[in-house]
């Protein structure tokens, strides 16, 4: 019940904010802020009420299920486990910041803006909570339309193009996922006689030969486009750079994570066989993404575009980890989802603050800002260090765990992925160098951080530090869910009574052989 309440709260808050915006812009800002704060506190109370230490029969903390379209076997089914809880916390944390950064930035149609923000958050929370595939698709699409408006109405100069591209890319891939969902539905129905979209029932569906990979491909399309993985990433730089700051924060911090979440929650457990045979290619795509994103990030002159390409690079680690099929890597992926959300969100907020002061995103026109705005410089330094994976900050834990996990699955690709860390150092330091060091080219008077801006940046720094120094609570929280996603991969090892490690090590055998082909190596060069 409390889960449905979370989503309803956001939706109702959104409508209220819209209506209130007709009277006074500040009303709608406060309504949006308080609604999101309420959701955030509610999620924290869920965290506190469900300690990780107690051993329970199931890792699902709560489930809520009411029939929705019983004729089709669709139910309004929500469930919460550690993974969902972490994602929800991230959602509301970034949601709060998104509303705070827009406080001064958004001056037109304030009511409608906050309506869109809250509905995006509602859609994202729905995606993280739902355990019914029909409902999942429903929320998946619901979060797009407000996002489209956020980019299309309040974005920068080229916003219409970016909004179109974003919408069409995600819609097209989403429809392919819908086809796969339907395929899964009918195959499961034909096998068992019960037609249902329920995730728990659909787990363990057996497929006729050659059907599984196709169905998985549909899901993959949606998630890989959203993530994004390299051949499908072209919507991302446009959408991120044209969106208003709040839009960029939500896009980078949350929408990309829905793709990663989808891989973990749906692709891995639903299609164990197909996923294993696709794994080498997926990992290759991940490594290509890491390097390609890093190289392109280095060559950008538009600050927001640069940050957008770092997302492409960082998300490469996610797919690399997901297709390593072991606990280390999965924990790394979960950490990466959270830390990337925070650090990239923070960088976009920094870019937004700079844009407010300079009205440009072009880093060629920046430089030498440190003496003028030292506070901002310090914060930016922390976020850039986080982005390059400095030990002690959250991203290091994430990337380290991912690489340890993927090493067990594929040595060669992991080596290439590690190069990505070096590249990350290069582009992150370039941001600092171009913006804060060097010679100041503008005579533009710069004001340092205001109290509101410090209030926004400080929690981000604290969160990154906390995740870097004491990530254990997050790892504990994610562990049961991670184990459950991996269950399908452990089963075969139980039967022949060999240690679990063996299957993990048999994977690289075929992965390596596949990667020795010319095409694989070629693509990296």
């Amino acid at each position: 019940m409390i889960l449905a309440l979370l989503i309803v709260l956001l939706m109702v808050g959104g409508i209220l904010a819209w209506v209130a915006g007709r009277f006074n812009a500040n009303f709608s800002r406060w309504i949006a802020l308080l609604t999101t704060l309420a959701s955030f506190l509610l999620t924290i109370s869920l965290w506190l009420n469900n300690p990780t230490t107690t051993v329970k029969a199931t890792n699902w903390m709560m489930r809520y299920e009411v029939p929705w379209v019983p004729q089709w076997g669709v139910s309004f089914s929500l469930a919460l486990d550690g993974l969902s809880l972490l994602m929800l916390l991230l959602t509301f944390f970034l949601g709060l910041l998104a509303i705070l950064v827009s406080w001064r930035e958004i001056k037109t149609k304030v009511g409608f803006f906050h309506f869109n923000i809250l509905w995006v958050l509602a859609g994202i929370s729905g995606v993280f909570l739902t355990m019914d595939l029909f409902l999942f698709y429903f929320f998946w699409e619901v979060m797009l339309i407000p996002m489209y408006f956020l980019i299309g109405i309040w974005g920068h100069a080229n916003r219409m193009y970016a909004a179109y591209k974003f919408f069409i890319f995600t819609q097209a891939s989403g429809l392919l996922m819908l086809l796969s969902i339907l395929g899964l539905y009918f195959i499961h129905g034909a096998n068992t006689g019960t037609y249902t979209f329920n995730y728990f029932d659909l787990l363990g569906t057996t497929f006729p030969p050659n059907i599984g990979p196709w169905l998985m491909a549909g899901f993959l399309m949606a998630f890989l486009v959203k993530l994004p993985v390299v051949p499908f990433h072209s919507w991302l730089p446009d959408a991120h750079s044209e969106a208003p700051t709040a839009g960029s924060v939500i896009l980078a911090g949350l929408l990309l994570k829905t793709g990663a979440y989808g891989l973990l929650r749906f692709v891995i457990p639903l299609f164990p066989d197909a996923a294993q045979s696709f794994a080498p290619w997926a990992m290759l795509l991940g490594v290509v993404g890491i390097l390609y994103g890093a190289i392109l990030a280095f060559s950008q002159t538009d600050l927001k575009r640069l940050i957008a390409y770092t997302s492409v690079s960082h998300m490469g680690f996610v797919i690399l980890g997901v297709f390593s099929f072991n606990e280390w890597a999965f924990q790394g992926v979960v950490m990466q989802m959270i830390t990337h959300g925070i650090s990239t969100g923070a960088l976009f907020i920094m870019a937004g603050f700079l844009y407010e002061r300079l009205h440009t995103r072009d880093i060629r026109q920046m430089g030498g800002f440190w003496p003028a705005i030292p506070k901002m410089g310090v914060f930016a330094l922390v976020f850039a260090m986080a982005s390059l994976g400095l030990p002690g900050l959250g991203n290091f834990i994430a990337e380290f765990l991912t690489l340890v996990g993927s090493w067990q699955a594929n040595n060669l690709l992991t080596i290439f992925a590690t190069i990505g860390l070096v590249a990350a150092t290069v582009y992150s330091l370039r941001i600092l160098q171009k913006v804060f060091l060097g010679k100041n080219k503008t005579e533009h008077p710069l004001t340092d951080f205001s109290f509101r801006e410090v209030l926004i940046a400080l929690p981000l720094v604290l969160a990154i530090l906390w995740l870097g120094l004491y990530p254990q609570p997050v790892l504990d929280r994610a562990k049961p869910s991670v184990d459950e996603q991996l269950e399908a991969y452990k089963k075969p090892t139980i039967k022949p009574e060999t240690p679990a490690q063996v299957t993990m090590q048999t994977l690289p055998a075929d992965t390596v052989s596949l990667l020795n082909t010319k095409g694989g190596i070629h693509a990296l060069k």
Binding site: W68, V69, F167, Q171, L178, L182, G183, F186
Partner: protein
Amino acid sequence: MRLSDLYFLMPLLILVGAATLNMLVVAVKRNHKIIFGITIVAHLVAVFTLLQLNGSSYQIPPFFVMDGWGIFNLGLILLTSLFVTLLSYAYFEQREERKEEYYLLLILATLGACVLVISQHFMALFLGLEVLSVALYSLIAYLRTRERSDEAGIKYLILAALSSAFLLFGMALVYAVTGTMSFPEIGVYLKSVTELPLLLLTGFGLMIVGIGFKLGIVPFHMWAPDVYEGAPAPVTAFIATVSKGGMMGLLIRFFSQADAYRYANLMLIFTIIAIASMLAGNLLALRQHNIKRLLAYSSIAHLGYILVAFLAGNRLGVEAVSFYLVAYFITSMGAFGVVALLSDTERDADQLEDYRGLFWRRPATAAIFTAMLLSLAGIPLTAGFVGKFYILASGVNTQQWLLVLMLVLNSVIGLYYYIKVIAAMFAQTEATTERRKVLHPALSFASGATMAILALLMVWIGVYPTSLVQLIRGLLATFMTTF
């Protein structure tokens, strides 16, 4: 003809009565309000009598059959026509032409469509078709002083007459081979032959021309954009919904009663038509700057989508067609309703420019139009999404992967031009707020209320489709036994 037949034909008889009554009232005194009132009441009574028939399955040999499918379609047609009437009042009140005959013609066209969906005989089919078509000729050219109105009327007249000729010739050929004009008996004949005689196949082919014209599917779609553009907005809404829906109802009845789903070559023809309609409709819509033309091409594509479900040829397919028709009717009426609402006395609001910045001038109207366009695009929370989902489900169920993938591809193409209109509405403009129309407050309230009802219906079906699915399944129970 038995006396009890009258009871089952009551909805149609009421329409006939209302048409006659309207004619007499016009002869005595012309008054827009009275005629409008009679038309509304007639529709309501017809719907009421139809409700009494729920659950029955009754043969009126040789022409008609009143089963679940017929009742479903009758209800859909009558309610749609009711909404079109509601939208028409404010629209025609602003125009200087004589308004009263419009309602007369509208009732006749509705009657024709009603006859179409309950017929099970070529004669009844042709009778219904011609009543519908003849009424439409004059409806399309009703505002005859407007430019393009005549062009649209004449174009429709010539092409409809031509297609009727094709249809008649096709029927004659079928009759020549089978010796019967009743659908079930044709079905009996078809069961007795192992292979379709060439003459019969030719007959079916010619009939497809006639049917395809009314449905406005490729390659018989040429009339659609011009007629949509030239006709008054409420009439366009009528053509897009009732006229096409009636023909779809007939097509499904014919195919299921004659059991024509068995023939691969017939199915192949329809597969090609479906794919061509989807592609041509969506691709041509991309370049339109006229909203009515854009909606015309989009409706060509939507009929293609419906054919995907039709081609499934099973229970799920017919359910999907029914559901999609409901969703599509509500959405189309909503969209054309907005066009009618925004039209001024000079012309219809059919240019994309008319919609630029609409959201900041008239937020409620723009919100409704946005919702309708999103529904046409098949985005969740709207009826169009559930409809599209239903169609995809029926396609996946029968493993028609080509059709299903084409549908997905086309949805994406379609998305582009729907967003184009939405983006125009949300664009920032410097233009100050102007209310172009000065109408009686009650009048604008009535139009607004009609639009609000349509929007609520659409969202309700989109969010909670259970009750509609239940209704359709219940009604189809009597139809599907004959399947």
